[in-house]
Amino acid sequence: MSDATAQIFLDTDRDLAFRAKWYTGRALIYGALIFWAVISLFPIYWTVTTSFKVAADVMQGNLIPWVDFQPRWLGWRTLGLSPDSIFETSTVREEFLKRFMNSVIISLSASLLAAVLGSLAAYGLSRFSYRFGFMKNSDISFFFLSQLILPPVALALPFLVLYKELDLLDSRIGIILLYTLMVLPLVIWIMRDQFKAIPVELEEAAMVDGLSVWGSFVQIVLPIALPGLVAAFILSLVLTWNEYFFAALLTSTDAKTLPVMVASQTGSQGINWWSMAALSGAAIAPLVVIGIVLERYIIKGMAAGAGK
């Protein structure tokens, strides 16, 4: 009200003050945004530039390529991924690519499996009430959620023994199953909120039209919940792609993944920062790309379920 009346009786002083205030506000907002963007992006910038440095540049803390230092391919050459080494045979690159492929296969499969199992369970839990023995819906939900709480250390040795007996050690399937278990609670939790936000009337209408429970789930509900599913999938991907502990424990030659290689870049002889940076950069690149391409789904997916 006051604003509206003020607009009619504009006097220049107030107008100026108002504008000044508006500009200060804008400046503050953009200042804060840029500040945090720097905080978020600088480490990534640092990693990427470091992979093009040589030792002297690292020791001098040089920051800006071509200004402070001349970029070199040293770090990438150790991976066999620089322009001059890319066509040579390189056992290092073979190793890197094998692990990279394993990481891709394992994280995608595990996230996919978790998305399927998780969204089914989440839909069931949001629509029907169950009773497994003494467990009701809320107990079942907590049972799933509690898997998120389990400290991996508690399960390390048991899994080693179990997998040995099942002949699943050092197999991709074994790791996929384990990672699925690890991210399933997150998927269930996100998807349950998703489904709760979708009005039941939609399905009831669909069923009146002759669709079965499963039919309406697949044809009506799932497409609406897709952004949420993508969000859950991406979060699973992040967690499985970066998992280190079980990978170090349960894999050796066939199912080995990238994080173990990153961690082993350190040894008794100091650190070759350029190699470390190149490998770290290569290891985070796929997720960064996914983050850039699919970012809108993450927020949209979360938004449907939030605040309900």
Binding site: G80, G267, S268
Partner: protein, 555 residues
């Protein structure tokens, strides 16, 4: 050896690719070295003089060795294998090799070395790469849950108790022993190291010891010398030969400036390093604790009673505490990697105990600014040494007591007993191990970045190093400090008993608390370590530990 030197030189040198352009196949190696050896072919070198040629791959100053160079070295040194193995003899054999995965070291080399071996013998090798931090855990888990899934393992001698002591390794056949010329090993790597119950199991590929690295420019500095005298210190201003003097110098340097920077004395790593940090307290303690008349210094072999809380060790801990305030800022978070590579080589501090890597980096690494000002010797001694039998401090007639710390006793290649049932596989595994640990190949690993140090008497031939492009004086001083330690009669060799790194790991945790001032005295902290060690011993089985300790001493 360190990669940086080659990287730096590489940047300065002709583009390697141009040099190697047109070079195809093994025959081109010699031409590519551009050292006037164009005429020498592999068959000629088989007559016995492959060593100079090998040392020119890729040549000091032609860039970091790559996969291609490792393969060349592997091909060049294959003659020893050819004497014992026919071409294609191991066709169809698959072996699994477990080793460390370090930047361009360890498994990276083995892969290249063994590629020509695979081509010649027809065997195939699968690789298990482990991070150093996961190594111990992974090995123990494999043993305890009987999931040993490898045939050949790269392993340090401290784990021999875990593996050899449990009968998991395969005994070395006589032909392999001949192929690698075991008599060439430096003294301390000969039996009982690598043996168990009189049988030999290990192909050594590395020798380890801590030596003393110091800055000559500090000790030639006139101002320091004058101030040293003015402050009424004993003796001349010179490189410390004893820990007593190391302490005095470190305290003296506190608060002084060296050029523009703060002067620092001896660098103590105060943060653990997955068990490896304990070796650095060990280096301070051996001169106090290792009596020439007594083999034991860490435990009593008869009872496994820890000596960590005896006056000798407590004195070493107290020494660290005494110079805490003379250390650079943030030292509490400095692990040995930091003190070695980010401090000493970068010009911080004037004295340091470390493995040979510091020496091979000092002059050649880009991260090193200390270049010409570093020299080496064996670890300092002590004016008096603690006699655990009498409980008294002895002063030896021969002067200060020296006891170099043979920390980790080096890497070796072992073959697991699971190949024993298959004669062909066994021979293949040993042939691979012998190839990697061959006499000639080891000279190359000692001279180039590999993660391994010299460990054979034949590695101490200075002209060979100079021929490869090293500076004569520097390499003489460096090699002498190593050789003096290796052949020292009073060397402190750690017990090769099961779980030895558990002892180190728990000690690191307690030491961190001692250094952070959580205990009232060094003695109290040391007592805690001793109690924890006793607990570990009881857990693993005291009787068994005593037996294995004695077995490892060759008794």
């Amino acid at each position: 050896m360190k990669t940086e030197v080659f990287d730096r030189l590489m940047a300065a040198q002709v583009n390697r690719r141009t040099m190697l352009k047109g070079a195809a196949g093994a025959g081109a190696i010699a031409t590519a070295t551009a050292a006037g050896l164009g005429g020498i072919t592999r068959s000629a070198s088989a007559q016995g003089n492959i060593r100079p040629e090998m040392l020119r791959i890729p040549g000091v100053g032609v860039g970091s060795p790559t996969d291609r160079d490792w393969q060349k070295v592997g091909a060049l040194t294959l003659d020893a294998t050819k004497k014992n193995v026919a071409s294609g003899e191991f066709a169809g054999v698959e072996l699994t090799f477990l080793g460390l995965n370090n930047q361009n070291l360890h498994n990276f080399l083995f892969r290249g070395f063994l590629k020509p071996w695979e081509a010649y013998t027809g065997a195939k090798i699968n690789w298990i790469d482990l991070a150093q931090a996961d190594y111990n855990a992974r090995l123990q888990q494999s043993i305890a849950t009987s999931t040993v899934d490898f045939d050949i393992i790269e392993m340090g001698a401290p784990f021999e108790g875990d593996v050899l002591g449990k009968g998991l390794a395969s005994e070395m056949p006589a032909w392999a022993r001949d192929q690698i010329d075991m008599d060439d090993y430096v003294d301390y790597l000969k039996a009982p190291v690598g043996t168990w119950g009189g049988k030999t199991y290990r192909v050594s590929i590395d020798g380890d010891c801590h030596n003393f690295n110091y800055r000559t420019d500090y000790f030639e500095n006139e101002e320091f010398a004058a101030a040293w005298k003015a402050e009424g210190n004993e003796g001349p201003w010179e490189v410390p030969k004893t820990w007593q003097k190391v302490q005095a110098v470190t305290k003296f340097l506190k608060g002084k400036k060296f050029g523009r920077f703060d002067a620092n004395g001896y660098l103590d790593p105060l943060k653990g390093w997955g068990g490896f940090g304990f070796y650095f307290l060990g280096s301070r303690a051996t001169a106090y604790a290792k009596h020439p008349d007594d083999k034991d210094w860490l435990f009593d072999a008869d009872t496994m009673k820890p000596r960590i809380n005896n006056p000798a060790w407590v004195r070493a801990i107290q020494d660290v505490l005494d110079v805490l305030d003379a250390q650079p800022a943030d030292q509490i978070n400095a692990d040995p990697g930091t003190t070695g590579f980010q401090q000493f080589l970068a010009g911080t501090g004037s004295m340091l105990s470390w493995w040979g890597d510091i020496g091979s980096n000092a002059k050649t690494s880009d991260s090193s600014v200390v270049g010409d000002d570093v020299a080496f010797s064996i670890l300092p001694g002590s004016d008096d040494v603690y006699n655990a039998k009498t409980g008294k401090w002895d002063t030896l007639a021969s002067g200060p007591n020296y006891a170099p710390n043979m920390a980790y006793i080096g890497w070796g290649i072992y073959v697991m007993a699971r190949v024993d049932s298959d004669a062909k596989k066994k021979k293949a595994a040993w042939s691979a191990a012998a190839h990697v640990g061959g006499k000639d190949i080891s000279l190359w690993t000692a001279a180039y970045p590999s993660g391994f140090q010299p460990y054979r008497s034949s590695h101490f031939d200075i002209p060979e190093w100079v021929g490869a492009g090293y500076d004569g004086d520097f390499i003489s001083n460096y090699l002498a400090s190593q050789l003096d330690s290796y052949n020292h009669p009073n060397a402190a060799i750690e017990p090769r008993i099961p779980g030895i790194f558990q002892y180190y790991s728990v000690a690191e945790d307690e030491l961190a608390k001692i250094y952070a001032g959580k205990y009232s005295s060094a003695q109290e902290g040391a007592d805690r370590i001793a109690a924890a060690w006793d607990k570990i011993t009881d857990q693993i089985g005291r009787k068994g530990q005593i037996e294995l300790y004695k077995a490892s001493q060759g008794a």
